[in-house]
C-alpha cells in the first residue's frame, strides 16, 4: 500500500486545501478511495491526489524562524512609539 495526500477545491476563489491522507494499492484505487473518504458529500468540486513519495519535503531546520524577532512584527513597537507623549505621530 502507498500513502497518498488528498487536496480539495471548493467552488469559487478558494484554493486547493489539504484535507487528509489515505492508503491505496495504486493510483487508480487512490482516486476511488479519495472520492469515498473525502468527497462523498460534495466537499469539493476538484480534487488532487498525490503520492506522498512525489511530494518535495523541506528540511524542518530551514523553517525554524521562532528566534527571528524581526520576522514577527505584530505592530507593537510602532504602536508604542505612536503612544509616546513626544511622538510626532501622536
Amino acid at each position: 500500500m502507498k500513502t497518498y495526500e488528498v487536496f480539495l477545491k471548493r467552488p469559487g476563489k478558494d484554493s486547493f486545501t489539504h484535507v487528509g491522507a489515505l492508503e491505496a494499492p495504486d493510483d487508480d484505487l487512490a482516486l476511488s478511495f479519495a472520492r469515498d473518504c473525502y468527497a462523498r458529500r460534495s466537499e469539493g468540486e476538484q480534487m488532487w491526489v498525490v503520492a506522498r513519495t512525489d511530494l518535495l519535503v523541506a528540511d524542518p531546520t530551514e523553517l525554524e524562524m521562532a528566534d527571528r524577532e524581526h520576522r514577527h512584527n505584530d505592530g507593537a513597537l510602532l504602536r508604542d512609539l505612536r503612544r509616546a507623549p513626544d511622538s510626532p505621530a501622536s
Binding site: 484505487l29 482516486l31 476511488s32 478511495f33 473518504c37
Partner: protein, 257 residues
Amino acid sequence: MSDVDPANVNGAHGLVLALADDELCIGQNLAWWIAVGPFLEEDLALTSISQDELGHARALYGLLGDDIDALAYGRQAHEYRCAHLTELPCRDWGQTLVRHFLYDTAETVRWEALAHSSWKALGAVARRALAEERSHLRHASGLLSRLLRTEAGRSRLLPLFDQFAPMACELFDVPTGCSDDALVAAGVMARALSDQLAEWQGTVDDALTDAGYRLQWPAVDRSGSAPLGRSGRRSPHFAALHAEMIEVLSIDPSATW
C-alpha cells in the same frame, strides 16, 4: 408518481419493484461492513456505495408510490422480488468483492437499457444512477484486477466467481407478471432482459479473460417465468436480512428519521 408511467402496462411496475428490492438488499448487506472493513479506506468505500444503492432503492420505490417505507419494509416476504444473490450475507470480504463486481456490472447494463425509457421518470433515475456506477465499477474492477494478479487472490476469488456468477444470472430473470418483449415494445426498456443477460455475461467474461480464466455459464433457459427471487420465492437468508432492516420499525412503528 410519473407522467408517462405506462400504467403498469406489461408489468413495468413489477420490473421496477424487482430492481428496487435488489438495491435495498444489496445496500443493507453492504452496510454491514461499517467499522469492520479490511482497512479504513475500504470500510468507507463499501458503506458509501451502500448508501448509493439505498438511494437507488428509494428513487425506484418513489416511482411506485409515496409511502416508500411501506414499500421497502412493509411487505410480506413473498411479495419481495429481489434476486437471491442480493440476499446473501457475504460476511467474507472476498465474497463481498465478487458479488459487488457482478452486481455493479449487471446494474450498469440494466441502467443503460432504462436510460431512455418511455417512462420518463424511470429514465431520469437510470441516468443519474449510471453516473454513480462509474465510480462503483472503478472501485470493484480496480481491486479485482489487482487481486487477480496474485496467487492468493486467484485462489480465493476465482472459486467465488464459479459460485456466484451463475446465481447472478437471476438478476436478468423476467419478474412474474412482466413480459420481456412487451416492455421493450412499449419502450420501457431499450433491450430485452435476455439480451441484457448476454451483454453482461460478455462483460464478466472479458474481465476474467484478462485474468486468464474462463467461466462455465449454466445452460438455463431464462426466458420463461422466473423460478426464484423474481417470482417471490425467498432464499433462507432473507428473513434475517429483513428482520434487521425493520428492527427499529418493529420497536416503534411511528418512528421517523
